[in-house]
Symmetry: C2
Subunit: 262 residues, 2 copies
DNA sequence: CGATCTGTTGATATCCTTCAATTTTGGTGG
DNA sequence: CCACCAAAATTGAAGGATATCAACAGATCG
């Protein structure tokens, strides 16, 4: 079993405070927002390509993914959403979704009214910049996926996605050392990595033989994370898990007293 | 030769006003920012992986690209930057770049001080939301690239990237119907699409034989854009070239008189 | 006007896919 | 708790798309 986070802090607050220290005022706002009010069973569509985006929401519990379905029925999974991730923070600016989002496990969401998002920039500048950072993280993950799909072979792609998921789970306190819950079928892995399920099986089997990992009962353990990182040329820098640069933090220390800060 | 844009509006203003009507106040600010003050020759690095990001800048003239170099020297190009595109709008929030940016042609940049970006959210809410939209566009393009690399064959990838570039050039007034300047070598196309230069040659040759396109002297003409779009399953919706949803525009009509608007 | 980068073509190799059959797992109801 | 069913995982064999290697032709630029 995976350890639960030590602190009762909600996942979004845990994530954002890594980037920039938040004020009591900020925590209060996050506490108010990050409250699950929508529930989905596993395997349900949360938002659908071509339809208007639902309200912005925070993934409070569970795992989801963004995907596109092609004309011939094939599917490409673009990102995975973990607790604390925001969904459609941007897409509330468009009239219709260019991709779909679906749940992988049972999922709890907290919907955020659009006005709150827009007001945030004015009333909670720290949260606002931290959300900006969070969306930059997501962009960096998309770029890394492009590198993996464009230039890495099947083994490296698999090693890479597993390393990324372990690191992301660690960042939100959902990893027990090198061990995480991984509620993904091999078909879903294949649709993420641009491979076939059959080939994913083969490569995973060979990794098991090489004592690189254990993957059973929806639990993943990386036995030799260094060798896997090497196979994948994985460098966690792109996840930008560190804090904001000094000058950004300084700017927001002032901003607390900024005339338009409240 | 490609026609120049009819209006003297700077590329960034042209791009943002598609999304939301701007005020005289906004245009003034953009006019002030969008002024080239840095010049690069073709093939130079503008910002380098592992180093601190340079200041945020607008690409005023020319074409650039984001890329990563792997340990074995292979390269993956992640995005192309066209006039009016912002570079490192987000990455000013991090300590070091996770990828590099280089010029493809001679390039003119307008650097924007970080404080200006941060102040923008408060003083120019319309520009701010339009920049937000612009970064959402970029994210959508990254996702589309993932779909292309993960699930499309070589011919479809090539057709897709050419369609995308034609549409993006149209959006900034740099396309003459189906014809654009395309200062890309086949090696660069290959590094963008996860292919080898040799294979790009073969596919392009076959497209020429099929009278789908003309590509010579760094000029691309799509002879049969419908058939190419069909090969690529290209749907321009992901480029989100339309205007903001009505409610967003209404919100910012009010915001002009908003107490914290200035 | 030679040097270098870019594009082209052919032959061969490889990684991954496709197809098909079988086993294992997980969930459900009796 | 077990029987049963559907979904997921596994394995083998064969085929196909793209890579690799190599040689040459064409463009571009000082």
């Amino acid at each position: 079993m995976i350890k639960l986070p030590e602190r009762p802090r909600k996942p979004l607050a845990r994530k954002l405070e890594r980037f920039i220290p938040l004020t009591a005022h900020d925590y209060e706002a996050l506490e108010r927002l990050d409250r699950a009010d929508q529930h989905f069973k596993a395997g349900q569509d949360i938002s659908v390509e071509g339809k208007p985006p639902p309200s912005v929401f925070i993934l409070v519990e569970g795992m989801a993914f963004r995907y596109r379905t092609l004309a011939d029925g094939r599917r490409q999974i673009m990102t995975f959403l973990l607790p604390g991730d925001l969904c459609d923070l941007h897409s509330f600016l468009v009239k219709k979704m260019d991709h779909s989002v679906a749940s992988l496990t049972p999922v709890h969401l907290a919907a955020i009214p659009r006005e709150e998002i827009l007001e945030m920039g004015i009333r909670y500048p720290r949260i606002s910049v931290a959300l900006w950072w969070s969306s930059m993280q997501e962009e960096a993950m998309l770029r890394e996926r492009i590198v993996a799909l464009g230039r890495r072979n099947a083994a490296a792609r698999i090693a890479y996605i597993l390393c990324e998921l372990v690191w992301r789970n660690r960042a939100i306190g959902r990893a027990d050392h090198n061990c995480i819950d991984l509620p993904l079928t091999q078909t879903e892995l294949a649709d993420t990595l641009g491979l076939t399920p059959v080939h994913v099986t083969r490569v995973l089997q060979s990794m098991r033989r090489d004592k690189l990992l254990i993957l059973e009962h929806r639990q993943l353990t990386l036995l030799d994370i260094d060798r896997l990182a090497c196979v994948a040329q994985f460098n966690k820098d792109y996840l930008h898990l560190g804090a904001a640069p000094e000058e950004i933090r300084r700017y927001f220390d002032q901003a607390t007293n900024h005339p338009s800060g409240y």
